[in-house]
């Protein structure tokens, strides 16, 4: 499929003078509050008064967002609907709606007024938490675990590098190496602790080694990026983790940081810069795509599968990387790549972002089908027998979803696992 997707162009004009008033460059401003009888705008103002949530007021009800919102496709959601609820008496900070947004940003992509849920949601959620409003229990555990043991799974900090034992190759810890390295590889919490995501970590270790990359990991010093927790409302937790992480990163000399997960990419590349951390960070797909010529000869074994690639929201839409993962997949001999209908900028969220990873029982009660299940069905409909992913959240989500939707024939594998399989043959 060679369809080219373009970002929506704003239909607003940049320069305008109205009745002698120059309002150039402030084209988002509403001229007049829409009048709705029986209700007052307090509940809208309750949100727009929160820091970073001003854009909630810009909505002019065009509903382009609802058409692309992944939650609406399996439920009843979307920024336009939330605005309408606020107009007609719903308090977002006490509503269950507060917890359903995965911050996938598909709405922001198409919104002519740039109503930014990626900023509004964390702000409203933070307020809800500070007010002592209802917070789903599973999410609480994830917050508490992250604060206590440095990872949302609640696993001991001391065991963070235990996965290295099963890598089959040496994985240097930068503290022990005591010298500058080319690549600091930030492994991440799920690849370090979750049995399924760990397989991507060991695969990455073998691939980096085979390519002769000079890399090292942080080992026990590594703590969760907490970006998803930030988007779920725990700004204080994110700040606490970022202080530790930035201090740790800056202890060592390295040229580039490579991350396994898109959420870490978002945190370290986009958010940490505001805290004074401005060193190069890239996702493993972008990194490995650079080495395509050295990688291809290593991919000796055929992996005869029909693969469809799921664009992670935080790698794709949020950070613009769509092609490197596809280049890597196409480099594997025997692979036939097919695209799902919703791909690249219009990729359909797996449901893990914005806290969704730890809101399963809550979200499931408010949608007809889990987002991951909807996506698994879409993947199966392409005729693929493998769904390739590039985010550590996704493997377990989709494996669960294929079982729940009766699509057990559909395997779910990280791109790293597929590359590794081609490197070593079937294990």
């Amino acid at each position: 499929m060679a369809v080219k997707f373009e970002k929506t162009k704003s239909i607003e004009i940049e320069h305008a003078v109205i009745d002698g008033v120059d309002i150039s460059g402030r084209w988002s401003r509403m001229f007049e509050q829409r009048v709705i009888f029986e209700y007052t705008p307090e509940l809208i103002e309750k949100i727009t008064d929160l820091p970073n949530a001003e854009s909630f007021a810009y909505c002019y009800q065009c509903a382009k967002c609802v058409g692309v919102c992944p939650v609406d496709i399996v439920g009843d959601y979307g920024p336009r609907k939330l605005y309408k609820h606020a107009q007609t008496g719903a308090d977002l900070t006490t509503s269950p709606d507060l917890w359903l947004c995965t911050t996938c940003s598909n709405c922001l992509r198409v919104c002519p007024k740039e109503v930014n849920m990626v900023k509004i949601m964390p702000s409203a959620r933070e307020q809800a938490i500070l007010n002592g409003n209802f917070v789903p229990k599973e999410l609480q555990y994830a917050f508490e675990n992250t604060a206590r043991t440095g990872n949302p799974l609640g696993q001991p900090q001391r065991k963070r590098d235990a996965w290295i034992q099963s890598a089959g190759v040496s994985v240097p810890i930068i503290k022990d190496l005591a010298r500058p390295v080319d690549v600091l590889w930030y492994v991440g919490s799920y690849p370090s602790y979750h049995p399924r995501s760990m397989e991507a970590a060991t695969a990455a270790a073998r691939i980096f080694t085979a390519l002769g990359i000079d890399f090292a990991v942080l080992g026990k010093e590594e703590k969760d990026d907490a970006d998803t927790q930030r988007l779920a409302g725990e700004k204080g937790l994110f700040e606490m983790m970022s202080e530790h992480n930035i201090q740790t990163f800056n202890k060592y000399e390295w040229k580039e940081m490579v991350v396994t997960g898109p959420h870490e990419l978002n945190a370290f590349k986009n958010i940490y810069s505001k805290c004074g951390f401005d060193r190069p960070v890239l996702h493993y797909t972008t990194f490995l795509a650079r080495y395509l010529d050295q990688l291809k000869p290593l991919l000796k074994h055929e992996v005869n599968i029909k693969v469809t690639y799921h664009d992670p929201c935080y790698l794709g839409r949020h950070n613009g990387e769509y092609e490197a993962p596809r280049k890597l997949l196409k480099a594997i001999p025997g692979v036939e790549l097919v695209e799902m209908g919703r791909n690249r900028e219009n990729g359909y969220c797996c449901g893990g972002g914005g806290g969704g990873m730890w809101l399963d029982s809550f979200s499931a009660a408010h949608v007809k089908m889990r987002l991951s299940e909807k996506r698994a069905m879409e993947a199966a409909s392409t005729g693929a027998n493998v769904m390739a992913v590039a985010c550590p959240f996704e493997v377990s989500r989709f494996e669960d979803a294929v079982k729940a939707t009766g699509n057990e024939h559909l395997g779910v594998l990280d791109i790293l696992e597929l590359l590794d399989r081609s490197m070593r043959g079937e294990q």
């Binding site: 799974l153 049995p195 377990s396």
Partner: protein, 315 residues
């Protein structure tokens, strides 16, 4: 009568708990080594003769002892111990024993050992083996002095060794039971939907392998027969075959029961997170590669329906 072992027994609805018999059995074994007598102490109201294998059973009879009351029971046990100076006082490490053992330790100024799994005599001195830190460590300790209080975990010793016939002596309460600050109000038996699975001691849990809602009845029968509560992994809850209050796992409840019998559950990490600290995990699954077998203490690869039916015939 010095040189005695007092066993503080427990009862509910007129029936004595298994741990009471376990304690009597073990006490008899220790008594024969140390040359002592075993006195089973029963606090209650109008209870019939029991079948303990102790040398003597002391029935302390008072209507205010009919239901467990930590304050009333505490007063009575303290008075009895002060009067008769036993060498060893045994409690069950149960809802009742946990209210009394440590309290008595301070009242008498004598040592107490909790979480006891084993008792032996070494060079004439009593040694207690306790399972502490969630069972991760075993501590062997010897209580000092002339009187020791021990609280035993249920299931540590054989029940049969405590069953037999005994000399029954009935007395009134040896101490005033006036002015109690704790009063029993009523029994509470929760309805099926209200059950808090996190405080249950035994759980029978079903997964995808149960197949359908109509098959739950069989699992429910087994749960009832075992005095357990029925729980499930997420797919069963998703299908609405059981209410969400019964969900065990990362997005459900976290449980640490004495028994977790997993029927047709594969053992995904998200489910394990909810139950992997259970004291005894028995897993039944037809898939020999099911991850749950890496975390269970015991397992079997059999059809769960055949197994449950067979178990029901045996219990």
């Amino acid at each position: 009568m010095a040189g005695n072992i007092f066993v503080i027994t427990e009862h509910l609805d007129g029936k004595f708990s298994d741990v009471s018999f376990e304690m009597v059995g073990k006490a008899k074994e220790l008594a024969s080594i140390m040359g002592m007598q075993v006195v089973a102490v029963v606090l209650g109201s109008g209870l019939a003769a029991n079948g303990f294998a102790s040398d003597e059973t002391l029935f302390v009879d008072d209507v205010r002892l009919g239901q467990f009351n930590p304050e009333a029971y505490g007063r009575v046990v303290e008075a009895l111990v002060k009067e008769k100076s036993p060498r060893l006082v045994m409690f069950g490490w149960t809802a009742a024993g946990m209210d009394l053992a440590a309290w008595l330790s301070v009242r008498l100024g004598k040592p107490c050992v909790a979480y006891v799994k084993g008792l032996s005599v070494e060079s004439g001195a009593l040694v207690a083996s306790s399972q502490i830190y969630g069972g991760k460590l075993i501590a062997d300790v010897a209580p000092e002095g002339d009187l020791a209080i021990v609280a035993l975990l249920a299931g540590s010793f054989p029940v049969e060794a405590g069953q037999g016939s005994t000399l029954a002596i009935r007395i009134a309460a040896p101490v005033s039971l006036e002015g109690l600050k704790i009063q029993f109000v009523e029994s509470v038996r929760p309805s099926a939907d209200d059950i808090d699975v996190t405080v249950q001691e035994k759980l029978v849990s079903v997964g995808r392998g149960i197949g359908g809602k109509e098959n739950l009845e069989l699992a429910e029968d087994l749960a009832k027969a075992l005095g357990a509560v029925l729980t499930a992994s997420r797919p069963v809850i998703d299908a609405r075959w059981l209410p969400t209050s019964r969900q065990v796992g990362k997005s459900g409840r976290k449980v640490m029961p004495k028994l977790y019998l997993a029927l047709g559950i594969s053992g995904a990490p998200e489910h394990l997170e909810g139950m992997k600290n259970s004291e005894l995990i028995i897993a039944i699954n037809t898939d020999k590669k099911a991850p749950i077998f890496n975390y269970a203490h015991y397992g079997a690869i059999v059809d769960l329906f055949d197994l449950v039916e067979a178990m029901l015939e045996l219990i």
